[in-house]
């Protein structure tokens, strides 16, 4: 919330924007000692954004609280900050904590001295409130100034002012916040060791500070007095702009927010465009993802519902068997359980790496296997689908077909073949249940063969598609992408196989029911 609010706020008015920029730059100079004055622009900009946020909150707060006549805290130390900031913004809190940590630093003497100087100057009430933050920051700046050149502070301000313009991008802001955290962490540990290899030159800085504490006191005064004038101007101007068309700022923050949105149509449009582009891209990706989503395709080909129906059938049979087993006892029970176990054993699949040759051989094998069940069931649909996929692959021009399309076709073929096969298992279950003379052993044997053939068929199909995808590898720049797709094809092929084995397992109770 904070980010977007402040963004609106910021762009609400050109003047406010400019003023903010001014303040931002002050802030930069006045940031904690770790941020040395001769800092790089990048360093500056992120500090700036961080602090600007706090600043704005303060401005808002002070506006809202003017009437309450709360005691103003001028030049107060940072420990008072939590009262000023009402927003539960985490980054604000972080900031406070961090600053407080600095306060507790033993080497941080100068801050205390400066703090006492402040109340002597008593600028207008509202502005003082704004300063509550600024001044403490300025104090920090004072110390920084010691190590650098004191006079550079004010000069540096104007430099930064010119370079540091540009609204912070929320994402960037977030990134920087984390960055800053890290930076702080690093800095906090460094001083204690007082290492000379300090990345940030902070060790030197600290020693510098202690050495010239007295110098700080005198030069610090100068800086603050000079900076106060600028700050006062900024504060006044800001208030002036803020009160335009809203005298006394009686409208609450919510209203301010809304007002802020109005003038930035271009901003809104730009964001809208970006959002739309993102949405479109997501939609496109989703489209592809869904198109190549095995489960959805398996469902589309009615595989899921047949599997579910098969489960119902299987459960029905299991219940029947359980009732039977419960009603039996003694030798009969033992015999019955033996029979049940024998059937389970008959249904064990052996790993058979038989290579599938041509279509006619597959058909022949399947027909032979199925005939043992003595039911009217044909695998023509499965075989036709397989044949069509093979033809599709034969006629494929790799140049025209993208790897995504190829992958999509592969997944669809696997899903369809599996769905058809599962449907067959379901039908077999139904037909076996209404079959008059059951021959459980033959049925089990037949199903083992059929399952072996079907899993080989599907594995074979996956290999063919993968080979095609591999052919694309040589002249593609997205090798990783293609490899991912190939892996996915093999993965879904394994998935298909487990669907088939699962379907076969579901038929075991159907076979067992036939044996009693």
């Amino acid at each position: 919330m904070e980010t977007s609010d402040s963004e609106c706020f910021e762009s609400a008015d050109e003047e406010i924007y400019a003023e903010n920029e001014n303040k931002k730059s002050k802030k930069v100079a006045g940031s904690p000692p770790s941020k040395e004055i001769p800092c790089e622009t990048e360093h500056i900009s992120y500090l700036k954004t961080e602090e600007t946020k706090n600043e704005r909150t303060n401005i808002l707060d002070s506006n809202l609280q003017v009437d309450e006549d709360k005691p103003t805290k001028i030049g107060l130390s940072n420990t008072n900050e939590p009262e000023v900031i009402t927003d539960n913004n985490t980054s604000n809190i972080q900031e406070e904590d961090e600053v407080n940590m600095w306060d507790e630093d033993e080497d941080w003497e100068p801050v205390e001295t400066k703090t006492e100087i402040k109340p002597s100057e008593s600028p207008p009430l509202t502005i003082n409130r704004i300063w509550g933050w600024d001044l403490s920051a300025m104090l920090n700046a004072a110390t920084v100034g010691v190590t650098a050149v004191t006079t550079q502070v004010s000069q540096g301000l104007s430099n930064v002012l010119e370079t540091g313009i540009g609204a912070p991008d929320p994402a960037e802001l977030a990134r920087r916040t984390t960055q800053e955290e890290h930076t702080h962490d690093a800095e906090i540990t460094e001083p204690s060791t007082n290492s000379s290899t300090n990345l940030f030159g902070f060790g030197n800085l600290v020693s510098g500070v202690t050495q010239i504490t007295k110098l700080v006191e005198t030069t610090g005064n100068k800086v603050i007095l000079g900076g106060l004038d600028t700050l006062e101007t900024i504060g006044k101007k800001t208030m002036q702009v803020l009160q335009e068309g809203d005298p006394g700022l009686k409208k609450k923050r919510a209203l301010l927010k809304i007002e802020g949105e109005k003038p930035v149509l271009s901003h809104i449009l730009r964001e809208a465009k970006e959002k739309a582009e993102l949405e479109n891209r997501l939609l496109e990706e989703q489209h592809f993802a869904r198109k190549a989503n095995y489960e959805s395709l398996f469902d589309d080909h009615q595989g899921l519902v047949h599997l579910e129906a098969l489960e119902m059938l299987s459960k029905q049979c299991s219940i029947k068997l359980e009732r039977l087993i419960e009603s039996q006892s003694g030798r009969e029970l033992v015999e019955l359980q033996e029979t049940m176990n024998q059937i389970v054993e008959l249904c064990e699949l052996v790993d058979d790496d038989d290579e599938l040759e041509d279509a006619s051989e597959i058909k022949e094998k399947l027909d032979t296997a199925v005939s043992e069940m003595v039911i009217n069931i044909s695998y023509d649909k499965v075989l036709t689908t397989r044949k069509e996929a093979e033809q599709w692959l034969d006629n494929l021009h790799l140049g025209v077909c993208s790897e995504l399309e190829l992958h999509e076709q592969a997944i669809d073929t696997l899903a369809q073949l599996t769905a058809l096969a599962v449907e067959r298992y379901h039908k077999i279950g139904e037909l076996l249940l209404i079959k008059e003379h059951r021959s459980t052993a033959d049925e089990a044997d037949s199903l083992v063969q059929v399952t072996t053939i079907l899993t080989a068929l599907i594995g074979n199909m996956a290999t063919k598609f993968s080979n095609k995808l591999s052919e694309k590898l040589s002249d593609s720049t997205h090798k990783d992408h293609i490899n991912t797709l190939i892996t996915n094809v093999y993965f879904e092929s394994a998935n298909s196989t487990s669907y088939l084995k699962n379907a076969f397992q579901l038929l075991i109770p159907v076979l067992q029911v036939g044996a009693i």
Partner: protein, 218 residues
């Protein structure tokens, strides 16, 4: 063939005597075609179609086409449980098929319990009557039975497509109404009603909605 996105999935089951025209009704409803000859259904077959209810909600109908043949009776009863609606189908020109409707209904009620499905009474082969065939079940009689049992009644022709859409639409709307009123709920472990894939936001994305202040990120 990728299925469009839907908000709900309802499972409807078609029951009734053999050869009354359940599969033909479904074929016309899902395919827009009428098959002069078709094999008797083995166990159960499945059809699916997406339709929109009055407020534009998209509903995928998963249609369970059961075998009417007596020999499958013990199997088909396993399939009732997860249905939210049941179409009781009879042949207008076959008196017996109408007389069996109370049995079908009792059977369905028994197996769907504790859930209470929506029933609809659907007469088939209306085209035969207008083609000089012999009507064995009067519209009034069927209507009276339907009213008595709180069913929606409709006479259809899969050959001509008469009222086919309406037969399914009325049941779907009624199920949806009951979801709206809170009588029906999506429940774990019961597949009569399921929620589907929701449409991604931004499908009808417009600029006004792009209020930066509303994009909360913290």
């Amino acid at each position: 063939m990728v299925e469009p996105i839907f908000d709900y999935q309802f499972r409807l089951i078609l029951i009734g005597d053999s050869t009354v025209g359940k599969s033909s009704l479904l074929k016309y409803f899902t395919d827009g075609k009428f098959a002069e000859l078709s094999d008797p259904t083995v166990g159960v077959d499945f059809f699916a179609r997406l339709i929109e209810v009055k407020d534009g909600t998209r509903v995928k109908l998963q249609l369970w086409d059961t075998a009417g043949q007596e020999r499958f009776r013990s199997i088909t009863k396993s399939y009732y449980r997860n249905s939210v609606g049941a179409l009781l189908v009879y042949d207008i020109c076959n008196r017996a098929s109408f007389e069996h409707i109370p049995l079908w209904m009792a059977e369905a009620k028994r197996h769907i319990e504790p859930h209470r499905p929506i029933f609809a009474l659907v007469g088939c082969k209306l085209d035969l009557v207008s083609n000089g065939g012999h009507r064995e079940v009067s519209k009034e009689e069927a209507k009276a039975f339907a009213d008595q049992n709180g069913l929606h009644h409709i006479e259809t022709s899969a050959r001509k497509g008469t009222n086919v859409e309406e037969a399914f639409r009325s049941v779907t709307q009624e199920v949806y109404n009951r979801i709206q009123s809170g009588e029906y709920k999506v429940e774990d472990g019961w597949d009569g009603i399921k929620t589907g894939f929701t449409r991604p936001n931004g499908m009808d994305f417009n600029l006004i909605e792009a209020e930066p202040a509303k994009s909360s990120c913290c």
